[in-house]
Point group: C2
Chain length 440, copies 2
């Protein structure tokens, strides 16, 4: 049999020469490749970001939706406005008021999860080659969107108090010096995914001031803001800068993700563009989902439900951080998040989280390697652990397995050495401000 | 007070210099501008494409969704696969089998309505400047997507039997001669929106053969295929060319649009790209919507329901075409569609449907001017009338009002003349093959 590798690959994808240039940036994320493995029941997945919605009152939700079909079925099942259901947009304003935002429902655009909001904002603002400034590390799903629009991502360091203002200034200076156009700062100020840190109240005006004086829009992505463990929600940056901030919210973590309802709150001119983009993308967001959530919010003590979620996630955070304290080798470091879903682990020099992953999965535990959260290959000696979905017992068991794998790695490394590769040296230079290093 | 027009427009949109180049193509459609007007109760809207879902069995739908929440709530409300719910994808294959398609659920990607499928396919294939060949006229929502991806649309004429093979050949030749890259043919073979015609069985192999020999992919958009009045569904082009066709389907017209569930069936390599694009756009399509539709399909005689829809729409088609016969001035022409939602009206020379629209709305009837369905300014003496949503009595009343407006226009034109503008001359050259001219 003749070997024809070139032709064989042509047979594999006959369209290979026809795709748009942007598809070069559309590759399977490291999280996605993990899903198949991590969903096997014997594996403790500390990888995914699925909320635990088992505490939702199914009778209340079922009743609200039954009523909706019976009383408003023909409206709920019909096409709706591209901007979203007006009544829900009013309720979204009530939700945002908890973070100090006074907004008009006219400036809210409902999206298919806040993921779609990131997509639509990027669609409206970014030409190929435009720069988006992101925290280091940043949300893997947003990095994927920026890549798919052929943007360049420039990272700015965080520390235990969130984005470092001086790092932001440096990133802006360097980008402008290189003659590139910055379209916006993408930031997750509260209970950061993946870093687990929160931008301090003291820094918020400074970050706003920097962006305002440099003419840079802020994309404030806030899916976790109401899920703090220890205090009232922080004041949103949008609350103090209506003109310079596009704020993104979501019901995925405070209610349920399966309805795919998020939103963007934007300055009026941007909002108009987002509505046009939404109509082009989907005609309108799911009307039934929106009215179901609207009915839930109207009929249920949704703030009480969020309080229950916070207590449940705090218990899981405690399970994870106490297991980490009890079980992890001494050289491993992490932060203790005071809200949200994630802990960011920094490994000792020479340990590569991505290379180690197959051995971890063999030991029946999964995580996301740190490299997924950087656009530039950094993060190889870090990982994200999620405590949102597994039970406390499973979390402890997962950490135990992971600690065992790490101990073996560290021992192997100290016995044989593996050298320190370039990427790790570069990460090291960022490690000074690494959010994982301060608390533990 | 000083007049500062430049500065004033800057105040209106402070972001005007920052948007992506693609936003130049993202403008409010003529249909959208009409919505506010046409939704006033005193106006008979023959403009929109909303299905009439009042015949849906609300008790069945409500029961199915109640059961869904009670028995599978935590799954239905959770994140799902980017490709869509596997069970629903199997059921989608059952639906497509009615049109002769034998497909694997592995090659189906669920989308947020088939509008999102058009968006994702364009995202995957089209760089700025790439050409999409579309029928003349074509679906306004698809033209909007192509514009937003900075594609060039080249129209190919239709007649009473759908897309004219020789027109397609000419369009391909001219485009290639101009050194441009054709990415796909976008076609609506059944009960065309807006032209109301169906691609004949005789022409289908010829269209397939042309595209195959020219290396052009076909995007077969088929929301209305099961809504024929007089015969069994036509065999889909995808049924005879699995490798060269991306097939789009939707539950919006055969069930209900408010769930926003459509799909793409694509060759495996393209399907992989579409899943990545879907994950980037929304993470996953709405899980709750998908499982609700899946439950409806499993528990209800959905084919019987479609039969009821067909009978209801046939009655409305009859109401419209008999009113047109009874009431329209002699020089107006239209086709009699044998399925779907739309009649395409061609007006006498010199009558401009877009210019006439304000007078029609004053007379309390709305339609969509033909120009909305061309990328190039053609269509000024045509309009789309929808019979899907108003009751037969209202349809007749709407046609009566429209006939009155047209009579006055024609009289005004014959008394004073208005000259024939260039755009109309160009339309005239297309009018020979115009789908509106054959039946009446």
């Amino acid at each position: 049999m003749e070997i024809q590798p070139a032709r064989h690959s042509h047979v594999l994808d006959p369209f290979v020469d026809r795709y748009a240039a942007r598809t070069a940036g559309m590759t399977a994320s490291e999280i996605r490749a993990l899903f198949a493995v991590a969903s096997r029941p014997e594996v403790v997945s500390l990888a995914g970001g699925m909320p635990n919605i088992s505490g939702l009152p199914l009778d209340v939700v079922g009743g609200a939706i039954s009523d909706l079909v019976a009383t408003q079925g023909p409206v709920a099942m019909q096409y709706g406005s591209g901007q979203g259901v007006p009544e829900l947009r009013e309720q979204i304003c009530d939700v945002m008021r908890l973070e100090g935002i006074e907004a008009s429902a006219d400036d809210v655009v409902v999206t298919v999860g806040s993921q779609q909001a990131v997509d639509l904002v990027t669609r409206v603002f970014c030409d190929p080659g435009d720069v988006v400034i992101c925290e280091a590390p940043s949300y893997v799903g947003a990095l994927g969107v920026f890549r798919s629009y052929q943007c360049e991502v420039v990272h700015a360091d965080m520390d235990a108090h969130g984005l470092v203002p001086e790092a932001l200034r440096q990133a802006i200076r360097a980008t402008k010096a290189a003659g590139k156009r910055i379209k916006f700062l993408y930031t997750i100020p509260n209970f950061h995914n993946p870093a687990g840190v929160t931008l301090s109240a003291e820094r918020r005006p400074e970050i706003l001031e920097i962006c305002q004086s440099e003419g840079i829009l802020i994309l404030e992505d806030n899916p976790y803001g109401l899920l703090g463990f220890d205090r009232e929600p922080m004041r949103a940056m949008r609350a103090d800068a209506a003109d310079g901030v596009i704020y993104l919210g979501s019901f995925s973590k405070t209610f349920a993700p399966g309805f795919r309802v998020g939103w963007a709150l934007a300055p009026a001119s941007v909002r108009e563009k987002l509505v046009l983009a939404q109509e082009s993308a989907t005609l309108c967001p799911p009307q039934f989902s929106q009215m179901a959530i609207s009915a839930y919010l109207a009929q249920h003590d949704w703030q009480g439900q969020i309080k229950q979620f916070r207590e449940m996630y705090r218990e899981r955070r405690d399970a994870m951080t106490s297991a980490l304290s009890d079980l992890m080798p001494a050289a491993v470091r992490w932060n203790v998040p005071d809200g949200g879903f994630y802990v960011w682990l920094t490994l000792p020099p020479g340990i590569n989280a991505k290379a180690m992953l197959p051995r971890a999965v063999t030991a029946r535990v999964a995580y996301v390697p740190g490299t997924a959260f950087f656009s530039d290959g950094f993060g190889s000696s870090a990982m994200r652990l999620s405590y949102c979905y597994p039970t406390p017992d499973r979390i402890r068991e997962g950490v135990r397995r992971l600690a065992g794998v790490l101990e073996a790695e560290i021992e192997l490394h100290s016995t044989f050495g593996t050298g320190t590769d370039t990427a790790e040296l570069r990460l090291g230079s960022r490690g000074v401000e690494n959010p994982g290093t301060d608390v533990h």
